[in-house]
């Protein structure tokens, strides 16, 4: 029951025609541009993977206002983002910070590619080398040959 109710609250946030409203905009175009960039990277908490810049939810509107207030008060981009993180936690960052807890996230995929390349390279090399090798077999090679023969039998 409780889950269902929570879904309802979240749905109320799902309003159409989302995003920044004309009334929220700052007069200074440079400041407004910064505000848009920052809002694009902050997650709207009630609408999941949408940013507050794209969301029509009330809460997104409030945070957009907060961002603009901070920028108008002279905060840097980093300070402004920090002001939102202070209230809602790192969860609002669509781009997770690079820290020990996210090393696997950030470095895992490139490591996988390298690992995959190395493994594929080794596999191809081994297959290429085996049949053309006419030199006497080293102990390592004869072991490998035995392995290959065994595999072929299966």
């Amino acid at each position: 029951m409780r889950k269902f109710v929570l879904c309802l609250v979240l749905l109320l946030g799902a309003l159409p025609a989302g995003g920044v409203e004309p009334k929220e905009r700052l007069a200074d175009p440079a400041l407004e541009a910064r505000a848009r960039t920052i809002s694009g990277e902050l997650r709207c908490l009630v609408c999941q993977n949408e940013s507050i810049d794209e969301s029509g939810a009330d809460l997104a509107h409030d945070i957009r206002i907060l961002v603009r207030e901070r920028l108008t008060a002279g905060d840097t981009d980093a300070q402004t983002i920090q002001a939102v993180v202070n209230r809602y936690g790192a969860f609002v960052l669509l781009k997770p910070p690079v820290e020990p807890a996210t090393y696997v996230l950030w470095f895992g995929p490139p490591a996988l590619v390298l690992l995959g390349l190395a493994a594929t390279g080794m596999w191809l090399h081994r297959r290429q080398a085996a049949p053309t090798d006419t030199a006497p077999l080293s102990p390592d090679e004869s072991r490998r040959l035995a392995g290959l023969l065994r595999d072929n039998e299966g």
Partner: protein
């Protein structure tokens, strides 16, 4: 009465599936033709029964039978007929029924179109599909029964979520599910092959059409979902890296890899255990996606009302299906050894590279989607993984793949000539350089990555055309001879070219999105906005009654240089029953760019917020998807996959290796 009939049919389908999953398997082990043949009749009967169940639930919706709990929760008498029908799968229980219906459809298709299969293989494939059906029928009957009644009947229903009251609901889920579930055939083939201990070229040919068909359906399903999001959300976003979207994208990525690797199995008789693994993983990812969406372990905009008990049940299904097949894999796969050799620089080599990058891409999406769950389970911080991660991690892997997709088809089988291939692609270099220069000049100071993306799309597009021209030796032999060559090219090769062209078109659509312009203004009736050479004037907003909503319908004139281009009607719809407002955007496209208009709120003075976007090349995203799927279908129509041909190939291969596995 009809509802009970549907319920009964579903229970009967369960028993039929139990027979389907056991008798043919025993028959295949004991070489009993009669027992093996049981699978076929079971699959057909099972399909009939599930179809009956589906139809009876539809009947309950169409007649607004408010003694059925599922109908009460998701329907209403005022709902238009289309949404009474599509609303059947707009909820957890009904969508599971659709899932099982698609599964039985696939099993029936295998039963009907597999005369060319050796009876033992067919029996095993059908048995594996029967097992999957048993699991999901049990799931529906025990935890998610759509046929439950209640008494006294409710006076009326609670209606369908207004967001789902859209024609998109009629097409998006059926195609998506057909894609997901269609991969169960490849999965069943893989498991059957592991049981038999034999994978050969004939096997690859049998699986290929099924994989291609599911891949086409999934491609269409994903493209439609993305398009639906685009026109519904009111600001023109089309992909959010939302867990549910990722859940459909991951099987697509691995399925794409599978299509490519099975070519190597067929041509070179190698990469077998890898291909089997891909077939298992593709369907496993469909299952994992089902779990993620319905168990509530991840939050998503699409989430159904979730329930941990259902989550446990699906997890149990996952452990049985995936755990079982991977155990079989661990035991049997080491004995599947490949024969054919090829040089790293060869068509096979390029397919291996494709597989490597697609698999790593899928792993990246997987890690990104599940990382919040991993951290949470370890008691770590709550984090979001949004588009910046995927743009930085996933996209760089796809770029080399797309570059390679231009070269790979130019390489010869076994041992290719990379330098020669690169030399023959000179047209593509010129075209790419031209596009890069022109777009860079036109958008000077704008997003450089977008320019590079367009260059990438041009590269792939022209490389594909060059490859086709090369094949028919255009301009090097008389045109008539080229034509004759073109007519005789296998369909599969055209299919590949078309699909790659589609990818290029989509890439152009993705790449151009930073060039979009937006204008958001508060307009009085008569006021106007200027964007991309258009003048957009809000004429008036009228309150119009709809079947189950009230709409504020804006009349917006679009002129360019003083002459009328079109009149657009974006709406806001208020659904009183749910106390919810939805937006209905208006889009005018000339296939090169979309003009996208959404109506926002009215303020106290009666002025309206109007959002206008000009989005160049955005329709190409889905156009490319449709072209890709079309390419798949062209390939599917190739003579080689037709009935009889594969059987002959099988006989040949059986003669060649008489003892293997038998």
């Amino acid at each position: 009465m009809i509802t009970e009939l549907g319920h009964f049919a579903l229970i009967l389908a369960l028993f039929v599936a139990i027979i389907q999953s056991t008798i043919p398997l025993i028959g295949a082990a004991r070489r009993h033709i009669g027992w093996m043949a049981v699978g076929r009749s079971c699959a057909l009967i099972g399909f009939g029964l599930t179809a009956l169940a589906m139809l009876s639930l539809m009947h309950a919706y169409v007649t607004s039978d408010f003694t059925v709990v599922n109908v009460i929760q998701n329907s209403h008498t005022d709902k238009p007929l289309l949404y009474k029908i599509t609303g059947v799968w707009g909820n957890h229980e009904g969508s599971m029924l659709l899932w099982v219906f698609m599964l039985s459809l696939c099993a029936a298709a295998v039963a009907l179109f597999s005369n060319n299969l050796p009876p033992a293989l067919r029996a095993r494939v059908l048995a594996v599909q029967g097992m999957i059906a048993v699991g999901f029928l049990l799931f529906i009957l025990l935890t998610s029964n759509p046929f439950l009644r209640t008494f006294p009947p409710a006076p009326n229903g609670q209606g369908l979520n207004p967001v789902l009251q859209d024609p998109g609901l009629a097409f998006h889920p059926p195609f998506l599910y057909l894609g997901y579930v269609g991969f169960s055939v490849a999965f069943a083939f893989a498991v059957a092959a592991l049981i038999e201990g034999r994978v050969d070229a004939a096997w690859a040919r049998w699986v290929r059409p099924w994989t291609l068909a599911s891949w086409c359906a999934l491609t269409i399903g994903i493209a439609m979902g993305s398009w639906w999001a685009y026109y519904t959300l009111g600001w023109g976003g089309w992909w959010f890296w939302d867990p549910v979207e990722n859940a459909s994208f991951m099987p697509w990525l691995v399925g794409t890899a599978l299509i490519h690797s099975s070519i190597v199995v067929e041509k070179r008789d190698t990469l077998k255990s890898w291909t089997i693994l891909l077939a298992i993983i593709t369907f496993s990812l469909s299952l994992v996606g089902t779990f993620l969406v319905r168990s509530g372990v991840l939050t998503s905009v699409h989430a159904f009302a979730t329930d941990p008990e259902r989550g446990m049940f699906i997890l149990l299904l996952l452990v049985t299906a995936i755990g079982g097949s991977l155990t079989l894999y661990a035991v049997r796969a080491p004995s599947l050894q490949g024969g054919g050799l090829f040089a790293p620089i060869s068509r096979e080599g390029s397919l291996v590279l494709n597989n490597l990058l697609l698999s790593c891409g899928c792993a990246t999406v997987f890690i990104g989607t599940l990382y919040p769950l991993f951290l949470d389970a370890m008691g770590g911080p709550k984090l979001s993984v949004g588009f910046p991660f995927f743009n930085r991690s996933f996209v760089p892997m796809m770029v080399p793949m797309i570059v390679a997709a231009g070269v790979g088809p130019m390489l010869a089988w076994k041992r290719g000539d990379l330098l020669g291939a690169l030399q023959r692609l000179w047209v593509a270099y010129i075209a790419t350089a031209l596009v890069l220069l022109v777009t860079f000049y036109l958008t000077y100071g704008g997003p450089v990555m977008a320019v590079l993306g367009l260059g990438l799309a041009t590269w792939l597009f022209t490389a594909v055309l060059t490859e086709l021209a090369d094949r028919v030796r255009l301009f090097r032999i008389p045109l008539a001879d080229s034509w004759r060559r073109a007519v005789n090219l296998p369909r599969a090769s055209y299919g590949m070219s078309v699909a790659h062209l589609g990818l290029a078109v989509s890439v152009a659509g993705f790449a151009a999105s930073p060039f979009a312009r937006e204008a958001i203004e508060i307009l009085k009736p008569g006021g106007s906005i200027h964007i991309a050479g258009y003048e957009i004037t809000l004429e008036h907003v009228d309150r119009l009654p709809g079947p189950n909503y009230v709409a504020d319908d804006a009349t917006i004139r679009v002129t360019s240089g003083g002459s009328l281009v079109t009149v657009m009607h974006p709406e806001r719809r208020y659904f009183q029953l749910q106390n919810q407002t939805t937006g209905e955007t208006a889009i005018r496209t000339n296939l090169l760019a979309d003009l996208y208009v959404a109506l926002g709120d009215a303020d106290t003075k009666g002025d309206w917020t109007v959002r206008v976007y000009w989005k160049p090349l955005v329709p190409w995203i889905w156009l490319g998807g449709v072209i890709m799927a079309f390419g798949g279908m062209v390939s599917l129509s190739d003579r080689r996959w037709r009935v009889g041909v594969a059987a002959r190939a099988a006989r040949r291969s059986q003669q060649a290796v008489p003892a293997a596995g038998e």
